[in-house]
Point group: C2
Chain length 216, copies 2
């Protein structure tokens, strides 16, 4: 990673402005439908600057996936739910948090990684790998809490933290697609209700009807 060079430190440089623009535009329009000119216009940089920082449009798409990984990593790392002592509470708090941030415009709460992975998996290895790594890495951090919860409370044979983490991401990514069809976040909230209920049933917790679950 060569992100931190010699920047004036006060202003945002062309590279990071382009990455931010990519996150916004690709979530709105998709990767192919977003032109380099459009990206430059939103970032307020020239085309020359674009190709100075990125070898190709694909290279920007992959770099933006890494950028997405970093920013969302910070977002979730700093969130309050991590302060729960109980690992199961941390997972349930994660679901609550995801529900909270799923508001407003669809393009503002959907996932850059999921969108570009869906669209570019066949045409760009770099984008596919970076986007999948974003989702897989996120699942792995979820899996840590889930494995601790499994160790503490037990769970039916064959259930692993990583499998549950990936399944959680799958349900959320699919809910984002439904949200795009409906034009609102309702499918995301519905999916999280089901995910929460699944986890509570799996861990044999009967907080079934309450929304927050596990308040101890």
């Amino acid at each position: 990673m060569n992100t931190s060079h010699t920047l004036p430190a006060g202003k945002q440089n062309a590279r990071s402005k382009l990455l931010d623009a990519a996150i916004v535009l690709v979530r709105q329009q998709g990767f192919s439908a977003t032109s380099v000119d459009e990206l430059c216009a939103m970032a307020d940089v020239t085309k020359g600057a674009f190709f100075h920082h990125f070898a190709s449009k694909d290279a920007l798409g992959a770099a933006a996936a890494d950028h997405w990984t970093e920013t969302s990593s910070v977002l979730f790392m700093d969130a309050d739910y991590n302060r729960h002592e109980d690992p199961l509470d941390r997972y349930l708090g994660y679901l609550d948090f995801r529900e909270e941030i799923a508001t407003g415009e669809v393009a503002d709460f959907t996932c850059y990684a999921g969108t570009s992975l869906q669209e570019c998996y066949g045409s760009s290895d770099a984008i596919r790998d970076a986007a999948y790594q974003s989702i897989a890495g996120h699942s792995e951090r979820l899996a840590e809490d889930l494995d601790q919860a499994i160790a503490r409370y037990g769970v039916p044979e064959g259930v692993t933290g990583l499998s549950l983490g990936l399944y959680t991401q799958a349900a959320l990514q699919g809910a984002f697609i439904l949200a795009k069809g409906q034009g609102n976040a309702a499918p995301v909230h519905d999916a999280i209700v089901h995910l929460r209920r699944y986890i509570l049933l799996l861990f044999d917790r009967e907080g079934l009807t309450q929304k927050k679950g596990c308040e101890r």
Copy 2:
């Protein structure tokens, strides 16, 4: 050229060849990345034929979503699992069937509707509506079995057949995205294992460790 002597409804005309080509190419490359020329080449028709049958590329995308709805509707309607007397068995059979057909190349088992909905929701109302209707309609038919199962066996407060049907589709659509990242169908199989376990727990059936569940 080919068998265009017999147009009257019996042979494959340009329109349906283009629809078939769209299903294949859009699943491989996405909608924007697939050009009209490419579609015509695969369908072995000319550009004039394309714009004779479709007012625009978007119109083809929407028509292909309807075409997808029809073909997949037939696929699932004719499948054996519908012959189960028990509605819960029909749902579980549906999951088994989805697992069975998730093999081979990723582009061959993923969903045209989910792919184009994810990509085109912001740029084409016609594609968005047709693609969402494809998924929502499929969920509604699932919901019929689930509502019957709920009526027969009961389920925790607030759980509806439609909500479960949509959640099932969300989990599958998300699993398709993960499959595109991994390059194989493993995430689809994993997601179905979790879906099956959720349903069995929800309906208080302890067929937890068996794969098929509910064999009666």
